[in-house]
Symmetry: C2
Subunit: 457 residues, 2 copies
């Protein structure tokens, strides 16, 4: 039934030389099988991912570590025989410095914490303050009169990332509006092993800047219970965090030139920067090595797609998206933006791949689904509307470029997100290989189809 | 078929007035239902567990926190109307003090660590040393000549707790035998979020005492990879740990006196001490509140078991078992040991209860299985040979007393074991209530049966 519908739709809608689903299978089935086999029997992606994260952890924008990781990537991409270039990008340069939070009362203990990216510090000396614990923005408004001069802790109930991240981004602004001197948040996660999570925050325009940090779920819940029992909670907070002048970083661009339509571009990418804690293995070294390896496998197999495959390792996704914005600006300035057939980013973990999210013309779905069906051996067969982990290609999408994300099993993604625990030990070699296969099959076929996937009418 | 067999066995074997399985259901089915209902609709166990862990975390032997927790327990047990006494116990008094491990080369970063309980410190100043990474005791023997003056890291492959804990206990002794100046181990766990795990260690008799600490799975694996690449690894280790003179602690004993055979004792228990990190919520405040609440429910329901139910909150399970040994010594000295029908300890987590482990005369199994079948509504129906989480009643068992442990879903038990993450947030209220029901039903029936469960012949 589905095939009949797809066939009919294809027959009616395809004004260009688009193929019926059966033709996708006939044309690309062998290539897909070769790609999957090479991905499954190849340790390079795992070995390079291990090397990158072992030698270049904590790749925050402005750090030498990030630039070293970029240099290493350029060197290895050249060794692979790609055409490689870099694109200068001025990036925010926030530094954490030394920081700590100590519970002074009603218990005395060190509390695991991470200052939020973009926060100011405590002015060179520790700040001691009473803590006002609220369950969210609403309770803060109700108890606004109590906030003056206090450290406000938001121990909201976690519903999902989108809801919880509002506290990370806006806690300082909301607390400062009522005279608080610092803001603490329960870490943005649904699981904790006394694990603080950093991430970006912003200051509103009309309020005083105050320090903002995340503590653990456990400590936030404990303080909330203690506050409800009438205990006075006192904390010492010390943060050396500061924003330095913008620093020079780079996007890395490597190409496998198209055999027939080299001007048309299928972009695949990731972000090479990470937060300054942990190894940034899943966020997003994994995405970088998976997309890179996908392009390398296509090349090694001697497949010669009609269009150019362009790998972009974006800089500064985590605290600025300056890499994604600069890339967009450049391709708009040089007239290349119209040539982008698809921008496919992998930045939502490299766990078991499930399929693809797509934000672009709906007419592409039948063909994308037929491509995905070639990934049945590894289970990455779904194609849905909307895409996750596509922050860097967001600026392109806002200019009309179709974008795609890799959907994976994200059950544990937010456990590790922006923590010290984002390391190789959370990843699995076969899962990474399967992500590579999924990206390679999708990318190769979209790059090779006789028609543009985004121009099916 | 099973019932016929059980009936036949019971008819043949029961020389005392033991009942057939159907009679267990007939006699105790109503009581079991009442117990389960009260356990499921009662927040007291959860509220007290929260209170105990919130106000008295880090209950290591020798600490004021442990003694405060004991005082609170005595007070609340008295409020519940039980006959309460304490039993003095001299316990080891190890203190951690300040400690840290810093990676100096080939990366520079702080490494989460926990000194192992019983370890000496680094002699008042930081110790800097090159790290020899080995995969286990065997590789250490092969590379013994390289160990002199080094810090030996055991990055063994985790198979199970029993295997892995050998490294925690013996790493220092084995490394010192070859002239190492400190020993590090990969934390004893099958899952890590940069989480170090403490736990007890011992020094062998004929070797120098050297400091011993656990680092995280991630850091141990990273160092191992780096060592295999030929990198020289250097670490700074600082530990103030020391063993002070033995301190005075107490076992807490509370009784619900038997209505017909008050001298016969069904012991239920747990350990009130914990490690000096985290809140000791699952290890073992949960076991304490579950057994305590089981006894309280039996009392509140007006059930009057023939035998005495004796709750023992043992002290010093974690680093000495002095509470369990002292209790054994006392009941041997006063002739009570023969009166112990069963010693049932809960110290393997208070997650979803699955059933019971039993180490005692085999003839008890049919009856125990029939009792467990009354717990079908909450799923705790299995009875197996052998028992887990029964360290404190081990000394009794070695004198012939039958012992029992509560089997629970331990999938995540070792994730949190002896870590900062052992806090209320890892527990679930309903699971704790179900553990309470399981303990209460088993305890009440064993205490009330017309015959001793350990004397079925």
């Amino acid at each position: 039934m589905r095939h009949i519908l797809v066939f009919t739709l294809a027959a009616i809608l395809c004004l260009t030389a688009c193929k019926t689903p059966n033709e996708i299978e006939q044309e690309y089935g062998d290539a897909a099988r070769q790609i999957i086999e090479m991905a499954e029997n190849n340790s390079l992606v795992w070995d390079r991912l291990t090397y990158l994260t072992d030698y270049y952890p904590r790749r925050l924008s402005g750090s030498q570590m990030l630039e070293d990781a970029i240099d290493w990537s350029v060197e290895k991409l050249n060794e692979d025989g790609f055409e490689v270039s870099t694109q200068d990008v001025m990036v925010p340069h926030w530094v954490r410095g030394h920081e700590y939070a100590t519970l002074l009362s009603p218990d005395q203990r060190n509390m695991p914490m991470l200052g939020l990216g973009g926060s100011i510090g405590t002015g060179g000396s520790p700040m001691t303050g009473e803590v006002l614990v609220v369950s969210g923005f609403d309770e803060l408004e109700e108890r606004a009169a109590e906030a003056e001069g206090k450290i406000v802790l938001f121990n909201y109930e976690y519903e999902n990332y989108g809801q919880a991240v509002q506290y990370r981004v806006h806690a300082a602004t909301r607390a400062a509006a009522h005279g608080a001197k610092a803001a603490l948040i329960r870490s943005v996660t649904d699981f904790s092993m006394q694990t603080p999570h950093t991430g970006g925050m912003r200051y509103g325009e009309d309020v005083e800047k105050i320090p903002a940090a995340a503590i653990t779920v456990e400590d936030a819940a404990w303080m909330h219970r203690m506050a409800k029992r009438g205990e006075t909670i006192e904390v010492e907070l010390y943060m050396e965090a500061e924003m330095l002048p913008d620093a020079l970083s780079r996007n890395v661009i490597a190409e496998l030139r198209g055999s027939e339509k080299p001007d048309e571009i299928v972009l695949i990418g990731c972000h090479i920067d990470s937060w300054d804690v942990g190894h940034g293995a899943m966020d997003d070294a994994g995405g970088c090595l998976v997309t890179w390896e996908a392009m390398r496998i296509i090349k090694e197999l001697g497949l010669e797609p009609r269009r150019t495959i362009r790998l972009v390792l974006f800089t500064n996704e985590e605290n600025g998206v300056r890499g994604g914005l600069e890339y967009r600006n450049k391709v708009m300035a040089n007239g290349e933006i119209e040539n982008h057939v698809l921008a496919f980013e992998v930045d939502f973990g490299v766990f078991t791949p499930l399929g693809f999210g797509y934000t672009g013309p709906e007419s592409a779905f039948p063909v994308l689904e037929d491509i995905a069906s070639l990934l049945e051996p590894i289970g990455a067969v779904t194609v849905r509307e909307g895409s996750s982990g596509t922050v860097d290609v967001g600026p392109l999408n806002r200019e009309g470029v179709a974008i795609m994300g890799l959907d994976v099993d994200v059950e544990r993604y937010f456990w590790y997100h922006h923590t010290h625990a984002d390391a190789m030990e959370i990843l699995d070699k076969q899962e990474v290989q399967h992500c590579t296969a999924a990206v390679a099959v999708m990318t190769y076929i979209v790059a090779d189809l006789p028609y543009r996937i985004d121009w099916i009418e």
